[in-house]
Symmetry: C2
Subunit: 430 residues, 2 copies
Amino acid sequence: MDKKSVNIGVIGCGTVGLSFIKNLISKKKIIKEKTGIEINILKVFDKVKSKINPFKNLSALSAEEIIKDKNIDIVVELIGGTDFAYEFCMKAIENGKSVVTANKALLSKYGIDLFKKAKEKNVYLGFEASVAGAIPIIKSLKESFVGNKITKILGILNGTTNYILSEMYYKEIDFEKGIEAAKKLGYAEANPSLDIKGYDTAHKILILSYISSGKLFSIDDIYVEGIDRIKIIDVKFASEFGYRIKLLGICKKEKNQIEIRVHPVLLPKTHLLSLVEGVNNAVYVEGDLIGKSLFYGEGAGGNAAGSSVISDVVDISKKIVSKNFVEENFVPDENIFLKPFDEIETKYYFRFTAIDKPGVLAKISKILGDNSISILSVIQKQDNPKKAVPIIMLTHKAKEKNVKKAIKEIDKLDVIKNSTITIRLEEELM
Amino acid sequence: MDKKSVNIGVIGCGTVGLSFIKNLISKKKIIKEKTGIEINILKVFDKVKSKINPFKNLSALSAEEIIKDKNIDIVVELIGGTDFAYEFCMKAIENGKSVVTANKALLSKYGIDLFKKAKEKNVYLGFEASVAGAIPIIKSLKESFVGNKITKILGILNGTTNYILSEMYYKEIDFEKGIEAAKKLGYAEANPSLDIKGYDTAHKILILSYISSGKLFSIDDIYVEGIDRIKIIDVKFASEFGYRIKLLGICKKEKNQIEIRVHPVLLPKTHLLSLVEGVNNAVYVEGDLIGKSLFYGEGAGGNAAGSSVISDVVDISKKIVSKNFVEENFVPDENIFLKPFDEIETKYYFRFTAIDKPGVLAKISKILGDNSISILSVIQKQDNPKKAVPIIMLTHKAKEKNVKKAIKEIDKLDVIKNSTITIRLEEELM
């Protein structure tokens, strides 16, 4: 009889690891009924011994023990970080084991190596849990949309920053208070800079763009801006104009040029992405056949990510009990190049802080015009001849390099009292 | 060497069929690069000869020719209807071929037979395109959420009715004008009753509930109400109260009781489903691990459905080139029963048409109270002592049978001038 059971080793028993182990055990019977395959957890390791004590006879003495175990078919890596994780995953693959990981930092850095080695060894690498928790975006891009040329991906991919932005909006509090609230609820780490500076989102959009475009770019090559410069005043002005501010990972492809970037964005309140609140995630995808689509769900938490790990484990188990290895390549549909950030065109929200006197707007507009930036609307929010007042402006599409140059010139004007705030704007999505 | 090519026969060259064939051919190369598998269309049949003429040497003389062809691995059935489709699919499976279909009527009626036969013959049945066009809801429920107990599915599953409701809302037109607009754009058929009476949505929610609960119920056993009784006045009142009216397919599971129903629903405007406009579809899913999630996308059109057919064909091709058959069972996680519709509890929107005189509300409230229906809010929209005026009421959760009984009594009151309009209301979803 053919082999119809698959054995798992788990490295890392944090929130996701524990949820995965608990749920896989409790759902073992129904998974067997659905697929005919028995999935067993054989060994579990965590460097914190107290975490694996509850598993008694399953507990391994080291990660090595799991990676070397001849009876283990799939190694589930849930330790995070890039150094040990890379070593463990690579060795597991070299030993002929498939790997399931939730590690976005690892994949965005070493994805190419790992996938290459996996193909060489005829094993599989599952990573659904690495992006957007419970949302099946990896599988959908890889399998459901296999016939599509993906032209746009815009994602709210980081729960911490989305929570902070939601708090700022609803409670009208500033960024610092937003972070405090997130920390209190465990939504932000003690040092949340990976999240708030946009790097976590960057890892994830790099993975999504890899799957959809076939090319993995480096975080060093893309523009990454976090939410730490977002002020409550801008959240409020944006709202008045009918927009929400969200941190997006963006990947757009046109012909053989791809743009990948991470930054806060003004989105129309009627856009589905605007309604994604708190720690939830969402991914908007456009493709040549599917048109416009959106996925929404829980982006974090043990069960949400654990659900995606289970899905990967079951999928790979099905492949393991099949005899033939099926390739899974991320293939560029043409020779694509990363568009230089300076060449990117977006609409813009500007907040100037200017002395309230005649001729100010003329000076600003002149510089913008000289830099081919066309104004859509402008509103001066207060009048107070004694003090500097905010002037809010929305523009038509303009080139990044022109905006940078114009703002630099404008900020040198003696009527401008503070650095101008610039936030990009996305429309025409749905 | 192992077989790495798979041959397809297509029966039915309508909008979806043509798009599928065209796109599979144009994307054959990239699919081969991604999967290592060459997928060939070997034969194509349509009873309208002019439709297959362009395919020249691919065109078959009959559906039989395709079903019997020893070289064909997968039969793609895109003719619609239930009689011939059933015959073709069943015969294809009996002949050891996998089948891909977009036919929701077929599956909701004969799904059990077809899946049983497919398992017996070690072949696969793909049906992603049968529900919600390009949205990968079937695969997500089957594979991505394999570890979940699915507790709720609410879907906007019919583009025609959603288009009509969007038109009514934005253009403030009545239902008949909405249908006309849909017909003009080809969004509604000459006889659109399958859509507007809710049967199409019913087929789809039955399929989704089958996958998620493991049991396929009959359309005859569930409550199905369309949008043909929705008046523009109710769309407007709902809007005033902060709600949109949408036609939903609903499946809720609690312990071993499942409720499946199709009817118009008042949804808060802030709910993501409320923002699904025009012919788009969306499916909201809750599960024990994933929490709350939503899928949005194009529900109809050749390319959208064609994309899902391609996805099924590629998936099944991967399985075909693998040697071992992997089971795919829809398993009830307990012995579930369909909850009688009378026992279902929902909130309600009522529109009474009553004579404007003192004591009317007392009479209505008395009957509601006697039937354990508790009022949340009530507004009389005009005052005009000479004429009947609308009284709008929102209720707390009440049992269907109590509502039916109460409304029957109320409509007998001499102060009530027209049959009372009742629309169910869903909240607390996100």
